[in-house]
């Protein structure tokens, strides 16, 4: 038998490997920049046209509109994260590596989180410019965005693999995912409202809820992804 080096790789190294691969593919394919980001900006822009800016409506509803745009763009990013595994049997290739299922989950979720974070930066600037929003509590806004992004990426990755083996996954993924991430939508919107209004004290319970949500779904994902990944074949 040929010699095999000791497998010293840990789950974090393997997760970084998967995340690096996914991000490199996205950077080269330019789907995130060419499709997902413009989609989010169009959503923001359409709301600006649809609502009357003169009455200050936009500034009041800006947190909710921001997170609606992020959620819709996230559906595209999650679908894309699993679509890249469907061409040329790449999924079987990834299975053959024997990488830990939890590591694949963390890697894919991290890649989605990075894309969402970049999207949120651009959309955030768009909301500030288009909706005339003043940001008072930057700290709570950043913490809210971080916790919500991790929660969205973890939940999206978990439900993405659930839908990966289904024939109608493109339409089923939103149906499965949107009800589950309703708490993120609610918590992130409320925390953003409080943060933007300059009363961050009211936001902390929502930030805490977002943090718990992120921890729960990340833990479930690490534990369950491997079996779901195998069953999705």
């Amino acid at each position: 038998m040929s010699e095999h080096p000791e497998r010293t790789a840990n789950i974090w190294r393997e997760a970084a490997l998967v995340a690096g691969k996914d991000l490199r593919i996205e950077a080269r394919a330019r789907v995130a920049v060419g499709q997902i980001l413009p989609f989010g900006l169009i959503v923001i822009l359409l709301f600006a046209f649809a609502l009357d800016p003169d009455r200050g409506v936009l500034a009041r509803v800006a947190p909710g509109l921001f997170w609606v745009a992020v959620l819709l763009a996230m559906l595209l990013a999650v679908g894309r994260a699993f679509a890249i595994e469907t061409h040329h049997g790449a999924r079987d290739g990834l299975r053959m590596t024997g990488l830990d299922g939890g590591a694949i989950f963390l890697g894919k979720a991290a890649a989605i989180a990075v894309q969402l974070a970049l999207l949120e930066i651009v959309l955030g600037m768009g909301v500030i410019v288009l909706y005339g929003v003043d940001v008072h509590g930057i700290g709570v806004v950043l913490l809210t965005a971080a916790a919500a992004t991790i929660g969205l990426a973890a939940t999206g990755t978990l439900y993405g693999v659930l839908a990966a083996g289904l024939r109608m996954r493109e339409t089923l993924l939103p149906l499965l995912l949107l009800p589950v991430i309703a708490p993120v939508m609610l918590g992130a919107t409320r925390a953003f409202e409080d943060g933007l209004d300059g009363v961050p004290g009211d936001a902390w319970p929502w930030v805490g809820m977002l943090g718990v949500f992120a921890v729960i779904y990340t833990t479930i994902g690490v534990m369950a992804f491997g079996a779901l990944w195998e069953e999705a074949a």
Partner: protein, 219 residues
Amino acid sequence: MSLVVRLRSVVCLLGRFPALAGADLDVEAGEIVLVAGPNGAGKTTLLRLLAGLLPPYSGAVEVLGVDLAEDRISARRRIALVGHETHCYDDLTARENIQFFARAAGRAADDVDRVLDTVALAEAADVVHRGLSAGQRRRLALAVALVRSPDLLLLDEPHAGLDATGRDVLAGVIRDAPAAGRTVVMVSHELEIARPLATREIRVVGGLIHPVTESVPHS
């Protein structure tokens, strides 16, 4: 000699169809086994079963001393499958694809250049997968398999789409396998090319495995 593959009464279902219907097989270390048989006989199913990608409905499957019902994930780290598809990513270059699978297997960076030379793909190393010709993609798939330094190499119609250079490369890889401590199980319809490379031939018919010396029914 130790057994690398041990199948006993294996039934494998594709939907309700028994692709393997009570198959038995022993493969010893260092063997190069040619698997022949008509279309739909269960040859590709046999390879996917040995790769741990397809669970059996019933029966015992041991590969490299590991019962795949117990731990097929760790067994996969020592198995490579070159199938009908390349298992590679369209938007990564040949080098990046090989690097990814090398790192996943804990292999050194030097191994990437070595396998690129082995499969004669060094000149196209920085071309993305979607830009490679069909033959180059087949060689890339072989490189991805080799960089993992598998103990068991599974080849499914490996000669398909290869030019003369590619076939020479493949023949070298197969002939060198026993010296590298590697066992090969190869499915092929191109028997005149594959037979001289094999140390043993078996035939899959109707989901059962027969040695070639045995008279088998033709479906």
